[in-house]
């Protein structure tokens, strides 16, 4: 039983969050171990499995991005996260800027940041955050809608993977920037 099936849902991405939560609470009342303490051991083991699957399913489906990630895994026939084919990949139009940022990051790690460099990196981080948010909106918006419309699913899947790869890349760079800015911020205040 896949996670969509746990909730009696079709393999579609447009899910109403409030309805999902209600269903999760209903199903929890049916299969939570707390309500089956007096059951025989085999029954308890079955309940435990069902409850664990329900919780994992809710976690995978309640967040629209995690939902897409799960869908990609499911479509590729992988139940575990191992061998994930989504590898961080820089968006082509940002390659030049990324090169600059990586260089600035290296300098900052080696010798700290001056005020001007800080400002540049902060501004760049803000732009990248906006870019990531746009990518996420695209994943949960038009790409998800395209999947649900059942038109050219193979193509939709490929776009998901590309978009997730871009997002993963942006997240890593944003994290690196945050780390460097925070580390130098402390040094900055100590002066």
């Amino acid at each position: 039983m896949n996670y969509f099936e746990v909730f009696g849902l079709e393999r579609k991405l447009g899910i109403d969050a409030a309805a999902l939560q209600r269903r999760f609470y209903e199903l929890s009342r049916q299969s939570h171990p707390d309500f089956h303490q007096a059951a025989p051991a085999e029954e308890q083991a079955r309940i435990l499995d069902a409850s664990a699957r329900l919780n994992a399913a809710y976690r995978a489906l309640r967040d629209p991005i995690a939902r897409v990630e799960y869908l990609v895994r499911l479509e590729e026939g992988r139940e575990t996260k191992e061998g994930d084919t989504v590898k961080p990949k820089a968006p082509p139009e940002l390659l030049a800027e990324m090169f600059e940022i990586q260089e600035a990051l290296q300098e900052a790690r080696a010798g700290g940041l001056d005020e001007a460099a800080r400002e540049t990196l902060s501004a760049q981080r803000e732009r990248l955050v906006a870019r990531r948010e746009a990518e996420e909106a695209r994943i949960t918006g038009e790409l998800s809608a395209a999947w649900d419309a059942a038109a050219e699913r193979a193509k939709a899947l490929a776009s998901f993977k590309a978009a997730l790869a871009t997002r993963a890349y942006l997240r890593t760079v944003i994290d690196d920037l945050t780390e460097v800015l925070e580390a130098t911020d402390v040094a900055h205040h100590r002066h």
């Binding site: 209600r22 609470y25 929890s28 009342r29 939570h32 171990p33 707390d34 309500f35 303490q37 007096a38 435990l48 499995d49 409850s51 664990a52 699957r53 919780n55 994992a56 809710y58 976690r59 139940e79 575990t80 996260k81 191992e82």
Partner: protein, 618 residues
């Protein structure tokens, strides 16, 4: 289903509760003397083991064999606690994988000490119900890791209790507040106890208590407040009474008994300052007495950094729940340390609303444990708690990197499956290193256990497909199963817990627990009487030194004779003789005590008004 009790096994106090069938409300159970809180203190005396209030009175007299705050050591390795050992008068030593407490004639592990407390509460409940109790729900800090939870469950087993559920303290508290006291919506439970801090963010809706995120610090609590106050007092005494200390030959920091008295005085002053603006701390030492006026503002300056340390986890929990402070509908305060006004102020500032505290913060967790026990027993079906695992669970992969299998704040029970294979031809054993924590590198995370998957059929490298299922149950405790997919054969797993007792250890301790029985009532009373005699002797000897100029020669002779009599009988078995000698001692020193009190008052009056002195001392 047999009766299940709810137990709050606290750092400072422990208590037991149940749900009254008639009213459906949780109630705490008191001891024969009407006391609800059992101090979590165990004293190992040559005559037997003392627990609670009786053990507390041994703190100063037997500092090296009276164990308090043992919860801080549950499920810990030596490296986790070595920095704070200097604050404890008893000796902690590493034995195999766990820390142990070295007593005069043996060592005990933290679960064994906790078991003594659990057994006392079990017996209290048994007296209350007139029946044997075998099952309990026991609470732990939400931020406890797998080893700390296992250690708690082991303590239950050693005490003869089947711990049917480990419940997180803040969530237990939310259950105690229940559906009638909480509006539906988002609730934040801020739980600052004696030794641990937790924050849990829940959504309460349709009878479901769904934890959205939890965070905390398992080594931050009222004990730490006491510690900074104690250190501050220590410096103050050393600077103001340098000459006195030298004359009396007292090395404060190395004197376990004095340090224990100082710690208890600091704790008492802290508690008084929760309701009073000022207090006076009085501590007789050697030939002099230390007096110190403390204003609440001074206390707040000392503990402010510690209170501030709780706010980081609060913000992280909110971020994990995807909420801003203003989106929290209700804030609930739990744990004795939330009585401190500064704590309440900081929490109120952060959330921008007045926190709840209708229920006694010392009792609310036990009441919630009782509610959870009643749910498990089938007595309540309207409420259901959906809790989370506080820490991410992962396995060590190539290069010491952690690969996360179950993320923190995932609702439990939950499971993750992962495929493993061999790297060498003919390999029959696969090792797995399981960790908990939020860091990328295995060395920065908490090692839980090493699992050896055995009996893999010899095949070329990479051929076996071993499916391993990691399951975190509703207790937040990990279970691991493995199966070789090609043969369908279940692989046997040998678990080597990094910090914990083995199955054999626990069984041995269950046996031992009968050998080291708690002192019986007679012995307990004898120890108490001796204790009182000891206290009187200490006081009289000090009075003779400090009030030397107030004692006439024949009075002195009388007192010394009574003292000799008392000393002669105090270690004997005759309780009546000790008591009589103590009473005689008190009688003969009464006039001296009065004269000394007068003298002290007069000298104090020189600088302040009497009402102020009396008013501020309590």
């Amino acid at each position: 289903m047999s009766r299940i009790i709810g137990i709050d096994l606290g750092t400072t106090n422990s208590l037991v509760a149940y749900v009254d069938e008639k009213t459906g409300l949780p109630r705490v159970i008191s001891d024969e003397d009407g006391r609800v809180l059992l101090p979590s203190i165990v004293s190992f005396t040559p005559d037997g083991v003392l627990v609670g209030e009786a053990a507390r009175r041994q703190l100063v007299r037997r500092p090296t064999s009276t164990v308090y705050s043992v919860k801080r050591f549950m499920g810990q390795g030596y490296g986790d606690v070595k920095d704070e050992l200097k604050f404890f008068p008893f000796t902690i030593v590493p034995v195999d994988n766990v820390v142990s407490i070295r007593l005069d004639d043996r060592t005990v592990t933290p679960p064994e000490v906790s078991a003594v407390i659990l057994r006392t509460l079990k017996e209290r409940a048994e007296r209350h119900f007139g029946e044997t109790i075998e099952k309990a729900v026991v609470t732990v800090p939400a931020y406890f890791n797998d080893s700390q939870r296992q250690a708690t469950r082991d303590a239950g087993r050693i005490a003869g209790l089947d711990v049917v559920r480990i419940v997180n303290e803040p969530t237990a508290a939310s259950l105690a507040y229940g559906l009638d006291r909480l509006k539906e919506g988002v609730v934040a439970v801020y739980d600052l106890g004696g030794g641990t801090f937790d924050i849990s963010i829940l959504r309460v809706q349709d009878g479901i208590f769904e934890v959205l995120a939890t965070n905390g610090d398992t080594h931050l609590g009222g004990d730490d407040f006491d510690r900074v106050i104690t250190l501050w007092l220590l410096e103050d005494i050393q600077s103001r009474h340098c000459a006195d200390l030298e004359r009396d030959g007292i090395d404060l920091a190395r004197d376990h008994e004095v340090m224990q008295e100082l710690r208890l005085a600091a704790e008492a002053a802290k508690i008084r300052l929760s309701s009073a603006e000022r207090t006076t701390l009085t501590l007789p030492l050697g030939s002099f007495t230390y007096h110190r006026d403390i204003a609440r503002a001074e206390l707040e300056r000392l503990i402010d950094p510690l209170v501030g340390k709780t706010l980081g986890p609060v913000r992280m929990a909110l971020a994990d729940a995807g909420l801003r402070p203003s989106q929290v509908d209700e804030v609930v305060m739990v744990g004795g340390s939330t009585r401190v006004p500064l704590v309440r102020r900081r929490v109120q500032e952060l959330f921008g609303k007045t926190p709840h505290s209708q229920l006694n913060p010392d009792e609310v967790v036990a009441l919630g444990a009782a509610v959870q026990a009643h749910i498990l027993a089938g007595g309540i079906t309207s409420m259901l708690l959906l809790d989370v695992t506080p820490l991410s669970l992962g396995i060590e992969t190539f290069g010491g990197i952690v690969s996360v299998l179950i993320a923190r704040n995932t609702t439990v029970p939950t499971s993750a499956r992962e495929m493993f294979t061999t790297s060498v031809d003919g390999q029959t054993v696969v090792d797995l290193h399981v960790l908990q924590g939020e860091r990328e590198l295995a060395k920065d995370c908490r090692s839980l256990a090493r699992f050896e998957l055995r009996g893999v059929d010899p095949m070329p490298a990479g051929m076996p497909k071993i499916e391993v299922t990691f399951l975190i149950d509703a207790n937040g405790i990990l279970q691991v199963q493995a199966k070789e997919l090609r043969t369908g054969k279940a692989a046997s797993i040998e678990v080597k817990p990094t910090y914990g007792l083995s199955e054999a250890d626990v069984e041995r301790m269950v046996e031992d627990s009968f050998t080291y029985a708690e002192a019986d009532v007679e012995t307990r009373m004898l120890i108490e009487t001796r204790n009182e005699a000891e206290t009187v002797i200490t006081h009289v000897e000090r009075a003779l030194r400090q009030g030397a100029q107030l004692v006439e020669a024949d009075e002195r002779a009388q007192i010394e004779a009574a003292l000799a009599t008392l000393k002669a009988v105090r270690d004997g078995q005759d309780r009546d003789a000790i008591r009589e000698a103590t009473t005689a001692m008190n009688r003969v020193t009464e006039p001296l005590a009065e004269r000394m009190m007068d003298a002290a008052l007069k000298s104090a009056l020189g600088t302040r008004r009497a009402a102020e002195i009396i008013g501020s001392s309590e």
